[in-house]
């Protein structure tokens, strides 16, 4: 096979052309030219009928040999060029990661809804029923049945919105009236939480609102004790803050519990004092206590048979703590600049 080493043979020229193809497109054009009928192998094949019969066989073999050589060269060059193209693509070209993507319109749930759902799911998993109660409430449920008779000084602190001159109907000042409604509907033992809106007739500023959210909790059972209350509150805080939080109970006076407590939680945001805890490392988190026997009686439950605890979580405050919201008035403002942040 001397022709294969002859640099001017048709095969050598064709191989050189293939090896020198600049890109995949040029290679495709060469493939058409060199591997087709007019290529070196094609020409030999076309000439076969004109050859003497004894030469025809070797010419055919020769044509196949050339074709195989060209095909090898073609695929080798193709691989080379593909590698180059991949390498070029991998450089990323003019990609600019700081160019923002086309904006996606987003909807979203209100932050109060988000926190309420978390708490509902947490408490449901612990066997609590979730209850709802009316915002426009009877004085009986809001006060009387909760051991807060007329002229009780505790009514002062509540700044009640009254809906009639006789004071029979009020905007509920807390979610506690649902305690009585729960006792009327459910037989002990039971556990329930009640998220909802409450109302106080007070001057509005960054930390006070006339309308805000609370969540009541009520557990009634056999031998339910302060120890159980402590356990339940620690579980609650673990669910809310995702870690164990130290708590302390202080005496607190609420007519519908006895004993009543203020529950303080170790500030989850600092260890030595910060703005949130007013440098005290404790956050006054929620009032709670053992259900007053008179309240159990109002709800038709025998306090000798059953005991219970109740707590009132300031939901709006918890939402503000979780998201670092500095002004309670944003919560119910309906301002998209606020709502769009969640």
């Amino acid at each position: 096979m001397t022709t294969s080493t002859d640099p001017n043979s048709p095969l050598s020229l064709a191989l050189a052309q293939l090896r020198g193809a600049a890109d995949l497109e040029a290679l495709k054009a060469l493939e058409r030219d060199l591997l087709g009928k007019s290529g070196p192998a094609g020409q030999i094949l076309a000439s076969i009928p004109t050859l003497p019969p004894e030469e025809r066989k070797s010419a055919g073999a020769r044509a196949n040999e050339i074709k195989r050589a060209l095909e090898e060269a073609l695929s080798a060059r193709k691989r080379e060029l593909e590698d180059v193209a991949l390498a070029a693509e991998r450089t990323g070209g003019d990609f600019d990661a700081t160019l923002p993507p086309a904006p996606l319109e987003r909807g979203g749930l209100h932050p109060v809804t988000r926190v309420v759902r978390d708490l509902e799911d947490l408490f449901t998993s612990m066997g609590y029923t979730i209850l709802d109660g009316p915002e426009v409430e009877l004085d009986w449920y809001n006060f009387e049945a909760l051991n807060i008779p007329k002229d009780h000084p505790a009514r002062d602190a509540q700044d009640t919105f009254y809906c009639d001159p006789e004071g029979r109907v009020v905007l509920r000042t807390h979610t506690s009236p649902v305690q009585i409604r729960a006792m009327e509907r459910m037989k002990p033992p039971f556990r329930a939480i009640v998220p909802g809106k409450v109302f106080r007739n007070e001057a509005v500023d960054a930390s006070h609102e006339h309308t805000f959210h609370q969540m009541e909790g009520l557990v009634v059972g056999k031998d339910v004790s302060v120890g159980h209350l402590i356990g339940a509150m620690k579980t609650l805080l673990r669910g809310v803050f995702g870690k164990d939080i130290e708590i302390r109970l202080r005496p607190g006076y609420f007519p519908f519990v006895e004993p009543g407590f203020e529950l303080d939680a170790r500030c989850p945001f600092c260890s030595t004092g910060c703005r949130v805890c007013k440098q005290s490392t404790w956050i006054e988190l929620l009032p709670c206590g053992m259900v007053h026997p008179n309240v159990l009686k109002s709800g038709g439950i025998d306090p000798e048979q059953w005991t219970g605890f109740a707590f009132g979580l300031g939901l709006s405050r918890l939402v503000m703590l979780r998201y670092g919201i500095d002004d309670v008035r944003h919560l119910l403002s309906g301002d998209l600049r606020f709502l769009e942040q969640f």
Binding site: L109, N201, T211, V219, G227, L249, M290
Partner: protein, 810 residues
């Protein structure tokens, strides 16, 4: 309430206990401590000086130049403008470097050319009241160079207790009560306090008559040989520390007794009182009196009056009157100490917005045994200062009061059960004894004698004593316990269903449809109701609303959402909001007076109005799609729209451009453009002109409707064909009728019809519109052929022709 630790020291030996420890113990065991501060800390730096000499200032007649010994071996020259400064006096000197109240820092200075190395202070300059007629002249006995605070007993700490946390503890409204608490908490002995009344002469008693049912006890004690002079410094210092301004000995003592044992009392100038004596009666309609603060008060019959003869001299339990107050010439007193019904005092003080130290205490249900103790305490204190004071007659003591002290049974077992901790019987008994309860063991129970001071309201049942034990031991000692009970999945009741429905709607709207959830006030603004034309609808009304411009509670969530459109449109091109909330309908109230509660989903969508909006991009179209999708996703796949009729349309809705939503037989909601007049009234004009639509869906109606989740259909076995049909029809032909015709023409082969273009105007002749549909044809049993399609199209041509239009050939 402010508690002075120095004052507290009169009742319990606090040696070795820091003010901080007291505050912490009270916080953990008793009541909420709001503050702990040293009393006028600069008084620890102001020292006693001895004025050696005073000479006239060479250049100013009114100024004196004093040489003052401040006990450090040097003599200071101090220029002083007070007229009463004189050689030989002991005075309070603020040396350079000392800071006085009001950011006033003392420096060496030149006054009219004469150097002054400090300041001789008046009481006011030191923060001790308003005495500023001259410098404060101290007693001769005080040691030169020592801090004024130390020699005068002004080194003190003030503990401020949150009044709200004392609502149920009338016994803690005085230092004595807090002292009992502190003694019990720290295991200290309580100091004895003699409050018995000293011997009196046997003159005729002062006449008192109780005509009001609201006064249960009235003690009147005449005292002679008194004068309203300046109180001794120790007394003034204690009053100052707790924020009381000293006035004169008699008023100061009256205040001191109240702040010491918690019993308000009043001193009258007896000579200003009628010889007929005191009458306690209810006010008469239209009666008026001028109280001590100089204000003329209009009274009502629920107010109780202390009268001299018939003339009111005090508003019982709240404030004394102008006429009979102690004055310079007073030499004989009538001390009044009474017990009033808490509710009466509370109502009067609330109505007149007149909250006084006295009313705050009476409201709490005071121990009725206190009045005689207070009288004795007053007289004994007075005698120490004014030995010449005498009691010309026995006290008058009238009224139907009874000692509230009672005995309660306490089961130590119940204490352990409620606290959830193993408290031994002895510890229960020990704690109660330390707190002043009498304890006697009777078998397995303790008979606990509740002293009158705790028995008026605070401690009335066994559980109250459980609290006493729990708090005194400290709740921190109670071990945490886990609740144990059978856990059943929550009941799928109405509340559960409503919550799940709300969640499904919220998730779909916030997620897929990209609306923002909001939560609004239940109050609805008056002007918004007027714009809606809803101002005459019955609403739950709040009669004492402090909310500006709103006194009504919404009947529906819709007004709340509509009110948010304009302000948000000012900031955003598109406003897409929804709320799941409640409304109250008072005309459907329960017999007990509870207004009916409705649960609704409201959705609003407002976008900048554009002239050539695509047919499917109007707010109404988008909102319809979102509302349908949300209701379907919530489990009501069968929800359908029907055209809105003018008589059904709510006030906010355009009478024509809208639909009603139906699930089965029930109408569950509306979706409509805003009524045009309302849109303008809401301010959606000019810059914020909007294409605005709203939807209102009743959760209550949905909950009553049958839930039909999406039904599965077998996947097609043969390929279908997509055909586009474009038609030109009169503008009056309804899209739904066309779609129905396209479907009917398929004779069961049409799987879906979808409008993808609607065009009118431009090249389309007037009065006509062009619509284009994608139609999907599918047969269950074979592959469709070109022939099937041609047959379909010719049927379509006929059907469209019947509607007065024509199919447009491509």
């Amino acid at each position: 309430m402010k508690i002075s630790t120095r004052w507290l020291g009169r009742h319990v030996d606090l040696t070795g206990i820091s003010p901080k420890q007291i505050a912490e113990a009270l916080t953990i065991h008793t009541a909420e401590v709001e503050g702990l501060e040293p009393f006028l800390p600069h008084l620890g730096k102001v020292v006693v000086g001895h004025v050696l000499s005073r000479e006239k200032h060479p250049d100013a007649d009114k100024l004196g130049v004093c040489q003052v010994d401040v006990g450090d071996g040097t003599t200071r020259q101090i220029v002083c403008g007070a007229a009463n400064v004189a050689g030989g006096q002991r005075v309070a000197v603020a040396l350079p470097g000392v800071e006085l109240p009001g950011d006033f820092k003392i420096k060496v200075s030149k006054i009219r050319g004469v150097e002054s190395q400090g300041m001789i202070c008046s009481e006011r300059e030191l923060g001790l009241g308003d005495e500023h007629a001259g410098i404060w002249v101290l007693p001769e006995s005080v040691a030169i160079g020592k801090p004024v605070a130390l020699v005068l007993g002004l080194d003190d700490w003030v503990i401020e207790i949150d009044n709200k946390s004392l609502t149920h503890r009338p016994d803690l409204w005085g230092h004595r009560g807090v002292g009992i608490e502190v003694a019990a908490l720290f295991g200290r002995e309580l100091k004895r306090l003699d409050t018995s009344l000293p011997a009196n002469a046997s003159g005729p008693v002062f006449p008192v008559r109780i005509e009001s049912a609201s006064c249960s006890r009235y003690v009147a004690l005449p005292i002679d040989g008194v004068s309203p002079r300046r109180s001794p410094d120790w007394l003034r210092a204690l009053l100052f520390a707790v924020g009381q301004r000293p006035i004169d000995l008699l008023v100061d003592l009256s205040n001191f007794v109240m702040l010491d044992i918690g019993q308000p009392n009043h001193v009258f100038d007896r000579n200003a009182l009628s010889k007929d004596g005191i009458v306690v009666r209810d006010a008469r309609p239209g009666e008026r009196m001028k109280t001590l603060d100089g204000v003329e008060r209009a009274l009502v019959p629920s107010d109780m009056l202390i009268c001299s003869g018939d003339a009111p001299v005090a508003l019982a339990g709240v404030m004394g009157g102008e006429g009979s107050k102690v004055a310079e010439g007073t030499r004989s007193l009538l001390l009044e100490v009474a017990t009033f019904q808490p509710a009466v005092v509370r109502r009067t003080s609330q109505r007149l917005a007149l909250r006084t130290d006295s009313s705050a205490r009476f409201e709490k249900n005071l121990d009725p045994t206190l009045p005689m103790q207070a009288a004795g305490h007053f007289v004994r204190l007075l005698r120490e200062i004014e030995p010449g004071a005498t009691l010309p007659c026995p006290p008058t003591d009238v009224g139907p009061w009874r000692d509230p002290a009672r005995t309660l049974q306490v089961r130590p077992e119940r204490v352990r059960q409620l606290l959830g901790d193993d408290v031994p019987d002895d510890e229960v008994a020990g704690i109660l004894t330390r707190l002043g309860f009498g304890v006697e063991k009777q078998g397995t129970v303790l008979a606990v004698r509740v002293p009158s001071a705790r028995a008026t309201k605070d401690v009335t049942i066994e559980q109250d004593l459980v609290e006493e034990v729990g708090r005194t031991r400290g709740y921190a000692r109670i071990p945490e316990r886990a609740l144990v009970a059978d856990i059943a999945p929550p009941k799928r009741d109405e509340g559960w269903n409503r919550r799940m429905l709300a969640r499904a709607l919220q998730d779909r709207l916030a997620g897929g449809a990209r609306f923002r959830e909001t939560i609004s006030y239940s109050f609805v603004a008056d002007d918004l109701l007027a714009k809606l034309g809803d101002e005459n609808e019955p609403h739950v009304r709040v009669i004492n609303s402090g909310v500006e411009g709103a006194s009504r509670i919404r009947r529906s969530v819709m007004p709340s959402l509509l009110g948010l459109l304009e302000p948000n449109r000012r900031r955003r091109d598109t406003v897409a909001l929804f709320e799941v909330g409640k409304g109250y309908v008072p005309e459907c109230s329960s017999p007990k007076g509870e207004p009916a509660e409705v649960h609704e989903l409201g959705i609003v969508l407002a976008a900048a109005a554009t002239k050539d909006a695509r047919f499917d991009a109007t707010s109404l179209a988008r909102l319809r799609a979102s509302a349908l999708d949300a209701v379907r996703a919530a489990g009501f796949a069968q929800v359908v729209e029907r055209p809105l009729t003018a008589e059904d349309a709510p006030r906010w809705a355009h009478p024509v451009r809208g639909v009603t939503l139906h699930v089965g037989d029930a109408r569950v909601g509306f979706v409509a453009e805003l009524e045009p007049r309302l849109r303008r009234a809401l301010g959606l004009v000019g810059d914020v002109d909007s294409d605005a639509a709203a939807a209102l869906i009743s959760l209550d109606a949905l909950l009553n409707a049958e839930r039909k989740p999406a039904a599965f259909r077998s996947l097609p076995k043969f390929p279908g064909v997509k055909v586009d049909v474009a038609v030109l029809v009169p503008a009056t032909v309804r899209s739904g009728d066309l779609a129905a015709a396209l479907e009917k023409s398929g004779k069961g082969l049409v799987e879906g019809v979808e409008l993808f273009d609607l065009y009118a105007g431009g090249s389309v002749e007037a009065g006509k519109k062009s619509l284009a549909f994608h139609v999907r044809l599918l047969a269950a049993d074979r592959t469709l052929t070109e022939e099937d399609v041609q047959k379909y199209l010719s049927r379509v041509e006929r059907a469209v022709g019947e509607l007065g239009g024509a199919v447009r050939k491509a």
